[in-house]
């Protein structure tokens, strides 16, 4: 719209302006006139109604007081001389209708029961009295008035009048039509005047525009315009002519200047190209420095962050301006503010060490996942940092916890420093991190070890190479009756009795386990088991000596008690074996006495064999209580003695039968010794009795070989041999039955070989046989 107006010709613009001006003035005047007219008419009716209400209100007071309706209605009847009043009501103070008057215009019938009208505002009659006045309002094209009737300062009733405004409206509308006609005429007149008057201004401008077009088309600055008037338009024409003159002259000068300028530009261009070469060199140097710095930053082993804290500074400055002084309290109570500040940091760059520290695939990966790096603890750390910055520090060191992208907690020490030169803005801040995780873990492990050292009941001492105690635990201290503090710094040999005190240096340290005696603070001495060892550095150089000390007083006492009880047991066992031997000898003697009374040779022989068997057992018990350890006997000795006894018993001279004993030196358990002894007894008896009949002489060999896998016992003679009908498997004699049974007892096998004599071999497995080679 505005644009459309701008593009109109000046002639049309002038006409429009003049018409707008005169039109709005005319409309304003007419409107004001009509409004004033309407208002003054209304005022008049209002004033008339007011004075009428005054009279009628006064006249109906007594009628109201004495409740005389007919008198009140008579009073209202007087209104019929006022045609503009079309209705009137008298109400009691309680708003009950008391009397009514209504003009009935011809053909127009009002509802007889029309309630008295009320103003829009719900003011009660009493409020009206308080306001002391009346109310006017418009309703259905009529003016209403409501007025309290007062007698003796008391509200006795209310008067309501309705006046018709139709007549006024009709008058005003006729007036409006007349005014509109005048307006239209005036407007047309103004249009005529405007289109004639505008040309005084527009014509010279139109002429000037035409000339200007010609000048610019032809480039002819020699053209001029005739001046017709002395007003601003005339001045504009002469100014335009002047300007054309000046442009003509300027045109000449410009050509000259242009030529000079071209010369100067050529010179300056050469200078510039020279300077450019120098600048290129500088730029190259700068680039190199920059790239050196970048490489230093990128490849620094220390994780580094380059950040921009300027928004944080603005935030803190705002807080300070708003009166915050205690930043620590402020940020402690508002975790949201801390988070908000963290959002304000702009991360400019991070280096490769940082990427590695947080196990990110790349910088991009790290910066995209910072929410995983910062934990709730990191915010606590950031809060400390903020408070320190707010207090004006430019270097801040805090410790806290971050998290790697794969979720590992890293303890870090963070050092933040505002780069010098940026203290006012904090636009450049370098944050370096030191990963303390390994150190923390080592500290924790040390703490665990320390706890173990404190709780163990074994005393532990660490001494330096001069033998001075540098560490000891409470078990060690209390074992020796000291406090830990008393021992630290003391020579370690304080703990040994003076006669046992070894001298350091460490080269002489007795490593390995040993028993010794130690000295308590109160002078008492107690047995200990010590284990010492050198602590060496990575190069194998000794650093310290660790000694573990165990109080073995109790163990020693137990040992002594055990030893005593073993001696006691030995005595008892000897006694038992002795008694068994004695008892067996008594049985043997009893059998001997029995034999003397028996005349039958066969029975005597049987009894004699039994007696020999008992004697062989008795001999073993005798050997047992003579032996050292009471559970094993030297089998060689046993066989030797036993065979001697047997030969004398059967009265076989060594000249007739030679007894060769080839026995390995073995010790047999009593469980094995008794069956073996009885086997030898049976086989030897057999050989002595039957192998060499009449004058036949020969040799009997008893061989015992103890080998790795088995033990072999053989009894061999070169006598007559067994009768051919004898089958070992089915032999009936008690002797051979016994041999087989006894061999089974020791898991052995029996073989009988006939080879110009008899050889009986018993083999039993070595394991579990109870045989032991004597050392």
């Amino acid at each position: 719209m505005r644009k459309a107006f701008r593009d109109l010709s000046i002639r049309v613009k002038l006409i429009i302006l003049m018409m707008l001006t005169s039109g709005s003035v005319l409309a304003l005047v007419a409107g004001t006139f009509l409004t004033l007219e309407l208002r003054s008419e209304s005022r008049e009716v209002e004033a008339e109604l007011t004075s009428l209400a005054g009279v009628i209100g006064f006249n109906c007071r007594a009628a109201l007081v004495f409740a005389d309706r007919s008198a009140a209605e008579k009073t209202l009847d007087a209104l019929k001389f006022r045609p503009e009043v079309i209705g009137a009501w008298i109400l009691t103070p309680a708003e009950e209708p008391f009397a009514r008057y209504e003009r009935q215009p011809a053909g127009k019938l009002r509802s007889a029961s029309a309630a008295p009208p009320r103003p829009a505002s719900q003011a009660t009659p009493r409020d009206l009295v308080a306001a002391g006045g009346e109310t006017h309002w418009l309703e259905d094209g009529s003016l209403l008035l409501r007025r309290p009737v007062i007698l003796d300062d008391e509200l006795v009733g209310i008067l309501v009048l309705r006046a018709d405004l139709g007549e006024i409206r009709a008058r005003v509308s006729a007036l409006s039509t007349a005014v509109a006609a005048v307006l239209l005429f005036s407007f047309l007149l103004a249009l005529l005047l405007a289109s004639w008057l505008q040309r005084f201004i527009s014509r010279p401008i139109v002429e000037m525009t035409g000339l200007m077009g010609e000048v610019s088309r032809a480039g002819n600055y020699g053209l001029r315009l005739a001046r017709r008037s002395g007003d601003e338009v005339g001045q504009l024409v002469s100014g335009f002519n002047n300007m054309l003159e000046q442009i003509e002259e300027r045109d000449h000068r410009l050509e000259e200047a242009n030529r000079l300028l071209e010369q100067r530009v050529a010179g300056r261009t050469e200078e510039l190209s020279r300077a450019n070469v120098g600048l290129g060199r500088l730029l190259e140097e700068y680039r190199q420095t920059e790239s050196r710095f970048r490489s230093l930053f990128e490849n620094s082993p220390v994780p580094l962050w380059e950040e921009d804290y300027s928004a944080v500074k603005l935030y803190l400055d705002n807080l300070r301006r708003s009166g915050i002084e205690d930043f620590a309290a402020y940020f402690c109570s508002r975790p949201d503010a801390v988070r908000e500040c963290a959002q304000l940091i702009r991360i400019l760059n991070v280096n490769q060490a940082t990427v590695r520290l947080f196990r990110a695939a790349s910088k991009h990966d790290l910066l995209g996942n910072l929410d995983r790096v910062f934990t709730a603890e990191s915010y606590a750390q950031f809060r400390e940092e903020l408070v320190a910055l707010a207090q004006g520090r430019t270097r801040v060191e805090v410790e806290g916890v971050n998290q790697t992208l794969d979720g590992d907690r890293r303890f870090v020490k963070m050092q933040l420093s505002v780069v010098p030169g940026h203290e006012e803005t904090w636009a450049e801040v370098i944050v370096s991190l030191v990963d303390l995780t390994e150190r923390r873990q080592a500290e924790e492990s040390l703490r665990r070890l320390g706890k173990a050292l404190e709780t163990t009941r074994v005393g532990i001492t660490i001494s330096d190479l001069e033998g001075r105690i540098v560490f000891t635990n409470s078990a060690e201290a209390s074992m020796h009756g000291y406090e830990i503090e008393e021992l630290l710094g003391q020579k370690v040999n304080l703990l040994g009795p003076p006669e046992l005190r070894a001298e350091f240096p460490a080269a002489n340290v007795e490593t390995g386990q040993r028993e010794s005696l130690n000295l308590r603070k109160d002078g008492s001495i107690f047995p200990v088991q010590l284990v010492s060892d050198l602590v060496v550095d990575a190069g194998g150089n000794p650093l310290a000596v660790v000694t573990v000390c165990e109080d073995i007083t109790e163990r020693k006492e137990t040992e002594a008690r055990l030893r005593a009880s073993i001696v006691e047991k030995d005595v008892l066992l000897k006694e038992v074996h002795h008694r068994v031997k004695n008892n067996l000898q008594i049985i043997s003697s009893l059998l001997n006495l029995q034999m003397k009374k028996i005349t039958e040779a066969k029975t005597r022989a049987e009894l004699n064999a039994t007696r020999n068997r008992i004697r062989s057992m008795a001999l073993i018990h005798a050997k047992l209580y003579q032996s050292k350890n009471l559970s094993q006997i030297n089998f060689a000795e046993y066989i030797e003695e036993f065979s001697r006894q047997l030969r004398s018993l059967y009265n076989v001279s060594p000249k007739k039968v030679k007894l060769v004993l080839d026995i390995d030196a073995v010790y047999l358990d009593v469980d094995v010794a008794i069956p073996c002894g009885m086997i030898v007894n049976e086989l030897l008896t057999n050989a002595l009795k039957y192998a060499f009949p009449e004058e036949r002489s020969g040799e009997i060999r008893v061989v015992l070989r103890s080998e790795l896998s088995e033990t072999v016992l053989s009894v061999e003679d070169n006598g007559v041999g067994l009768p051919p009908e004898i089958d070992m498997a089915r032999v009936e004699t008690l002797g051979l039955q016994l041999v087989r049974g006894l061999a089974q007892q020791i898991n052995g096998t029996v073989t009988v070989e006939q080879n110009g004599g008899t050889r009986v071999v018993i083999r039993c497995p070595a394991a579990g046989s109870g045989m032991q080679k004597s050392v």
Binding site: R61, A62, V65, F66, S70, A71, T92, D152
Partner: protein
């Protein structure tokens, strides 16, 4: 002038019944300027009437000791006195407080402005009224023929409603004046003997 025609009487009667019906629904409490229902004891109705009448009567300045001294209503009737005391105590008339005084003899009338005479005194009127001649004292009574016997305002009942007649000459002779509004409402107004 006893302009009491038959037709107006019928109309009044109808209006009266209408008014009573409305009043039964909305009993006036703080204002007496309203018809009093017939159930009310007659004395109370008459007391209200006297009070309303007082608003339209003008006494000479000399009748009051000061501009603020009270308007005194003397009552020569025990029943009426009780009713007046109950209903009118503490009220004001024409900016003056209303004082209600019970009297037993005419010589107790000093300073009174209104005198109400009970029907019990009908026989003694000839002794009372002449003694008051010339004093600014408005006499009211519900005694038949009160005006004829020298009284100023006479109350009577008609169709269960209080009506009144006025003897204007006697009132003017006592130096009093009564508003024409009231006169318009009076059933009859005498201007001469």
């Amino acid at each position: 002038m006893t302009g009491r025609g038959f037709e107006p009487r019928m109309r009044r009667c109808a209006l009266y019944i209408l008014a009573v019906a409305q009043l039964l629904l909305h009993l006036p409490v703080d204002c007496l300027a309203i018809e009093v229902p017939y159930e009310y004891p007659e004395a109370r109705v008459e007391a209200a009437f006297v009070y309303n009448l007082a608003k339209f009567v003008t006494w000479p300045e000399a009748a009051f000791r000061s501009p603020r001294s009270p308007l005194v209503l003397a009552v020569l009737d025990p029943e009426m006195y009780e009713a007046a005391r109950d209903m009118l105590a503490g009220r004001t008339v024409q900016g003056r407080s209303l004082e209600i005084r019970q009297i037993f003899r005419p010589d107790q009338l000093d300073g009174a402005h209104l005198l109400f005479i009970g029907t019990g005194e009908a026989a003694r009127l000839e002794q009372i009224l002449p003694a008051l001649h010339g004093r600014p004292l408005l006499t009211v009574a519900a005694i038949d023929g009160f005006i004829d016997r020298g009284g100023m305002v006479e109350l009577f009942k008609s169709e269960r409603k209080i009506r009144f007649g006025v003897q204007l000459q006697t009132i003017r002779a006592a130096g009093l004046d009564i508003s024409s509004e009231v006169l318009l409402l009076a059933s009859f107004v005498r201007r001469g003997r």
